[in-house]
């Protein structure tokens, strides 16, 4: 293999590997965002869920999800695996397909991690693991296969009716909105935490630890640059526009949240994430100043969406994952169709109609899938802890140990 090709192969491998590791790191962020938000009696459980979901998602996505979405499987000896590019044998491929699957696994694993934050503090452990496996192994990859994967039919149809395919560069819709809209039925079917509403009065439950919450938010924001930039999935395709659009969307989310939430640390640190969720879809298309507003509006959606959801609709979504990932993710899909237009300084080539179709179908698909899965689980194994277990806390009930043993064991 000639020197240049060798460099290219190595570069692609490094590029995907760095992206995969950065997104893997984001899962520590999911864990701490939840650890900081739940009560101390549920912190161990928060971490246990995230790390277990990661493990399960990896297995099911490699074995089922990726083969389903891209038609490539790994039932070959290691020698052949390293020399695979898009399923074809290539000398010196540096395990490209393996890395590609690793990279996409980190996306799939976000689905259970997102849901985890909504159902926190009261869900049974194993049923939720099972649900996560179904989502990461089937529900998500099926939709992925239609948008990014091997089944072009859907995109062809969208292009026919709307003039352009549905554009989702880094998963505002495919990943985040799917995760968020899957979480909505989960949270509703699970029901409110004990004590969240007392005789018709809203009794919001104080969160435990804002430094941990903000640590989670920082870790997520940092890893996010891998999430978006490495979504090029090919070294040649890297572009600073994606990086800087991510930056501006995040900053827009932060600043809008600081102003409109009157400096509320929960909204500010989640505002940064709202901005990043909203920009994924159009990060390769829009102008940085457009990204600023996409992110800022994303933060507003979270702020007002969260209040609406938890106070008006009385949905006890602990981390607010439906407004954060669901609604804001959908906004990201639509926003790409608006700010991506040349008229607004974008690169163009995107259709608002296509964005609407793709965005809505993701939400519908997720709502259906989650409703079925959780209804079945509830009817069979049950998805909620006994009330006394919930009151003792998921840590003692599920893991038999609290988060700060030295403090309470004596």
């Amino acid at each position: 293999m000639n020197e240049i090709a060798a460099l290219q192969q190595s570069a692609d491998a490094l590029f995907l590997m760095l992206g995969a590791v950065m997104i893997f790191a984001m899962h520590a962020g999911f864990a701490f965002l939840e650890v900081g938000t739940v009560r101390e009696k549920n912190q161990v459980n928060a971490m246990g869920k995230i790390i277990t979901d990661w493990g399960v998602s990896t297995v099911v996505y490699f074995l089922v999800g990726f083969p389903l979405a891209y038609g490539i499987n790994f039932w070959l000896d290691a020698g052949s695996l390293v020399n695979l590019i898009n399923g074809q044998p290539v000398e010196g491929a540096r395990g490209f397909d393996l890395l590609h699957c690793f990279f996409l696994t980190t996306f799939a694993a976000c689905i259970p991690a997102i849901i985890s934050g909504g159902i926190a503090e009261r869900a049974k452990f194993w049923p939720q693991v099972a649900a996560g496996a179904i989502f990461a192994g089937l529900v998500y990859p099926l939709f992925e296969s239609l948008i990014w994967g091997r089944f072009s039919c859907f995109q062809t149809w969208i292009t026919k009716v709307a003039g352009a395919p549905f554009h989702d560069y880094a998963g505002s819709v495919v990943v985040h909105s799917v995760g968020g809209w899957l979480a909505l039925p989960a949270v509703i079917i699970l029901g409110q935490r004990i004590g969240r509403w007392l005789n018709g009065k809203s009794q919001d439950i104080p969160i435990s630890n804002i430094p941990f919450l903000s640590l989670g938010s920082w870790i997520l924001a940092i890893g996010w640059f891998g999430f978006n930039v490495m979504s090029a999935q090919d070294f040649e395709g890297i572009t600073g526009l994606v990086a800087v659009n991510s930056l501006f969307a995040m900053v827009g989310g932060i600043l809008f949240a600081v102003v409109f939430s009157k400096n509320d640390p929960g909204f500010v640190h989640n505002g940064a994430l709202a901005g990043l969720i909203a920009i994924c879809a159009g990060s390769d298309l829009v102008h940085p100043f457009g990204a600023f507003f996409i992110g800022g509006i994303g933060a507003l959606i979270f702020i007002f969406g969260f209040k609406l959801e938890t106070e008006k609709l009385r949905i006890d979504d602990v981390l607010g994952v439906w407004p954060l990932h669901g609604i804001t993710g959908s906004w990201g899909g639509i926003a790409a169709g608006i700010f991506g237009q040349k008229a607004l300084g974008g690169l163009g080539g995107v259709s608002l109609g296509a964005q609407l179709i793709g965005t809505v179908s993701a939400a519908v698909w997720a709502l259906l899938a989650a409703t079925v899965v959780y209804s079945v689980l509830k009817a069979t194994v049950g998805i909620r802890l006994e009330s006394h277990e919930e009151e003792r806390g998921a840590d003692l009930s599920i893991h038999k140990i609290g988060a700060y043993p030295e403090r309470h064991i004596r």
């Binding site: 009151e391 003692l396 038999k400 140990i401 609290g402 043993p405 309470h408 064991i409 004596r410």
Partner: protein
């Protein structure tokens, strides 16, 4: 005047506070405590090792009252502090101690008016 010390379940604090304010006892001092009694503790497990936790979290209330308030206060607490209809082991105790004098720091008032 009496100094009433009550040890109750943390989960009952809200209810007890309300019950007390209904009989116009608005002032008390609260401390976190751990109790040893009939109520059994629990076991925790970490890295395969068992830990017996025999102390139970409790909340301690201290209320200084004038004599006519003693019975109503006891009533209020023992009603509100019970978990469920006929109560559960661990619901706690009320201790009534004699008190000679009270002083309100701000005003230097003493006795009944200071309570």
């Amino acid at each position: 005047m009496k100094y009433i010390i009550a040890v109750i379940q943390p989960s009952r604090l809200e209810a007890v506070k309300e019950a007390l304010s209904e009989i116009e006892v608005f002032r008390l001092t609260i401390t976190d405590a751990q109790g040893l009694g009939r109520q059994r503790g629990h076991t925790e497990i970490y890295r395969g090792h068992e830990y017996k936790v025999n102390l139970v979290q409790k909340v301690k209330l201290e209320i200084a009252v004038s004599d006519e308030y003693v019975e109503p206060t006891i009533e209020a607490i023992s009603n509100a502090a019970r978990s469920g209809e006929e109560g559960r082991i661990g619901d706690g105790k009320i201790f009534i101690l004699p008190m000679d004098e009270v002083v309100r720091i701000r005003t230097r008032e003493r006795g009944e008016d200071a309570i």
